[in-house]
């Protein structure tokens, strides 16, 4: 493997073939101008990269628990401040958190909010695969409407998840942070640009990155980039930035592809294409259109 590419996160980890996060982790960390310390919430990334006595991390790394990755980095960042004042740690260091959507939208939300509000100098990255994939595909508050998961199974009286995804970007923006962006593993150059900006930001910066899960979205491992690309091309996952509270869309087209093109690539949405669930499919399409319109309105 390309040594430069793997300089922070080595090969040999046990993430699934076709998983999005190894590329996300590498793309982001390699944009840091300074050494990086990583705090990681419990989840797929943590279990597949730290199986004792091995570690894929070539950069200092701490995993404490599921819900406290932001609080943990708060301590690391302030320790750095204290030890730098004493001259014990001469180097500038960047601090990064990686969490899945469960560890970010749900159980880690308070810890994230606290760290954003306190203004620690760190970059928070959520790799969003829309559910608790490490524990085998349970719904999270990032799971899309209509998705079939183990805890929102499709059945006689169920069409899958009933609720819309939580709008985390708005919650993050409500903390008055200088930089937040939504990115996608299929658009690596865009992701790198955003990572660079995030590292340049003084104080907290936030990146929400689309990360397909081959196992639980149920698609062939070769397809993760194509599927991620479709998410943006259908406006299911728009690419945008919020700089000092101002929204900017980074990718748009006159004619977005029909959402069905994205949905039909995955087993979790398979039921939406039967006659019975037509209304659910219509609702999914409406949600995507409405959310896109709301986003566009925010840019004006």
């Amino acid at each position: 493997m390309n040594k430069e590419l793997a300089k922070n996160f080595a090969s040999g980890h046990s993430a699934c073939a076709g998983c999005g996060f190894p590329a996300i982790v590498r793309a982001i960390l390699n944009e840091s101008p300074d050494p990086v310390v990583v705090s990681n919430a419990t989840g797929c990334l943590e279990v597949t990269s730290t199986l004792y006595p091995y570690t894929a991390w070539k950069t200092p790394y701490i995993h404490s628990a599921f819900e406290n990755a932001s609080a943990t980095i708060s301590g690391v960042e302030r320790a750095h401040k204290a030890l730098r004042k004493k001259g014990k740690v001469p180097k500038k260091i960047k601090f990064v958190v990686f969490g899945g959507d469960g560890g970010t939208y749900d159980i880690g939300l308070q810890s994230l909010s606290g760290a954003l509000e306190r203004g620690h100098d760190f970059v928070y990255v959520v790799y969003d695969n829309g559910g608790y994939m490490n524990t085998g595909n349970q719904r999270s508050s990032a799971t899309p409407y209509g998705a079939n998961t183990e805890t929102t199974p499709v059945g006689k009286e169920s069409f899958g998840k009933v609720e819309m995804r939580k709008n985390l970007m708005e919650i993050v923006n409500a903390h008055h942070i200088k930089y937040a962006a939504q990115a996608n593993v299929a658009y690596l150059n865009d992701l790198k640009k955003k990572a660079k900006k995030a590292f340049e930001t003084e104080g907290p910066a936030f990146l929400s990155v689309f990360s397909p899960c081959t196992n639980n979205w149920k698609f062939p491992t070769s397809q993760y980039v194509n599927i991620a690309k479709l998410a943006t091309e259908t406006n299911f996952w728009p690419l945008f930035e919020i700089e000092d509270g101002k929204y900017k869309i980074n990718w748009a087209t006159e004619k977005p592809k029909p959402v069905e093109e994205f949905l039909q690539t995955q087993g979790r949405f398979k039921h939406l294409f039967s006659e019975k669930y037509k209304p659910t499919l219509e609702e999914v399409k409406k949600i995507v259109q409405d959310e896109w319109k709301k986003l566009v309105d925010k840019t004006e």
Partner: protein
């Protein structure tokens, strides 16, 4: 003032802890308010505001985040402290095990308080007893002086053993009572605790380490056994550091305080502020030729079992008085003592007593009654609850 560099000062237990922390001047302190601990972090915030300390104080949004930030800070290589009580300690519970499992020398001052429900802000030991299996060293304090001392001893002990330490006082009884105590100079404290120089830490970017890996069936067990070996060794390390502190301060330090135990026939064992009243009762009863004594627990985890059992050798009967319930069985110290006696092959009459939950008052007459019951062989296998309404 008998010795050099000593100051006498009137402080509450909370202020005494804050004073000790100021003299230690940790790199990082992560804090969240809760009664009756809050006076400590308020006092420290004032020290910081007045430029008396350079500590990075992180005002987090919960106790869970307080201890989590401490884990990050300590792993990063900074001398790290926090303080809490009651629900705060209960909320920290998950991360207590992570702090000790990662062998992080965090110092926590605990102003021990009752646990909900029903909610009660007053002192007892339910919170710290609930954390006794979390892999933390636990040291009890009788009064503000001991709180001050144990804060300083605790910091050094944590860093020597690579184990986190709770320095504990009784909420309100000690934390909010003003006492006259003797403090060291900042220079003495700084010299005593020394520099914190961890071998491996996150900010050493030239030597990257992974903290908190996944350890499965083939390695987890060894981690936990090694941690327990470290806890075992901490017993000796505590004594060594306590004796160094004794030399520095002139105040006697040991695993426990043996008050008039030499020829005692009836003994009360307890931890915390009730020791003061009990000593008065012992003195009074001794005047009437009652051979009674007190064993006050200082170091509770690791439990200095052999040493404690050794001083109880010639004792006829014992009452273990505790401010905590261990639901469904006997309270914690009683269980430890019975275990020790059994191992030593000694069969003594021993009474379990629970008292003063949620700050219920206990009086000298109550303690006298405990001794009288021991003298008159009114000893049962049932737990006795002192002062409970019929």
């Amino acid at each position: 003032m008998s010795q050099n560099n000593k100051n006498r000062i009137a402080l509450t237990g909370g202020a005494a802890a804050a004073e000790a922390l100021k003299q230690i001047e940790p790199d990082v302190m992560a804090v969240y308010p809760i009664t009756p601990q809050t006076t400590i972090i308020e006092a420290y915030a004032k020290f910081k505001a007045d430029g008396e300390v350079a500590t990075e104080v992180i005002e987090v949004e919960s106790e869970h985040s307080a201890i989590s930030a401490c884990v990050g800070s300590s792993a990063a290589g900074a001398r790290t402290v926090t303080a809490t009580s009651s629900q705060g300690l209960a909320l920290m519970n998950e991360i207590l095990y992570i702090a000790s499992g990662m062998r992080l020398p965090i110092l926590m001052v605990v102003s021990a308080r009752a646990l909900s429900a029903p909610i009660n802000i007053h002192g007892d030991h339910s919170d710290v007893m609930g954390a006794r299996d979390a892999g933390w060293i636990q040291i009890f304090s009788e009064n503000a002086q001991e709180m001050y001392d144990n804060t300083i001893i605790g910091m050094k002990l944590a860093e020597k053993t690579k184990l986190p330490v709770m320095a504990i006082m009784d909420g309100f009884n000690t934390s909010h009572s003003v006492e006259n105590l003797e403090i060291l100079s900042k220079e003495q404290v700084q010299k005593f605790v020394g520099e914190f120089a961890p071998e491996k830490y996150l900010l050493d970017v030239e030597h990257p380490v992974t903290f908190g890996p996944l350890a499965l069936q083939n390695s987890y067990f060894e981690f936990k056994v090694q941690q327990e070996e470290a806890m075992g060794k901490a017993t000796r390390e505590y004594l060594k550091i306590a004796k160094e502190f004794e030399k520095l301060s002139g105040r006697k330090k040991d695993f426990f305080e043996a008050y008039k135990l030499e020829d005692a026939e009836q003994v009360i064992i307890l931890a915390g502020s009730t020791a003061g009243t009990t000593k008065d009762v012992v003195d009074k009863m001794r005047k009437h030729d009652k051979k009674v004594g007190l064993l006050k627990i200082n170091l509770f985890r690791p439990f200095p079992l052999k040493e404690i059992i050794a001083v109880l050798k010639d004792v006829k009967s014992i009452a273990v008085m505790e401010r905590a319930i261990s639901s469904g069985t006997y309270p914690p110290i009683y269980n430890d003592i019975v275990n020790g006696l059994y191992q030593a092959g000694e069969n003594k009459n021993i009474q379990s007593i629970v008292y003063s939950l949620g700050g219920r008052d206990i009086f000298a007459k109550d303690i006298e009654k405990v001794f009288e019951d021991l003298i008159n062989d009114k000893i049962t296998k049932e737990i006795k609850y002192i002062g409970i309404k019929e």
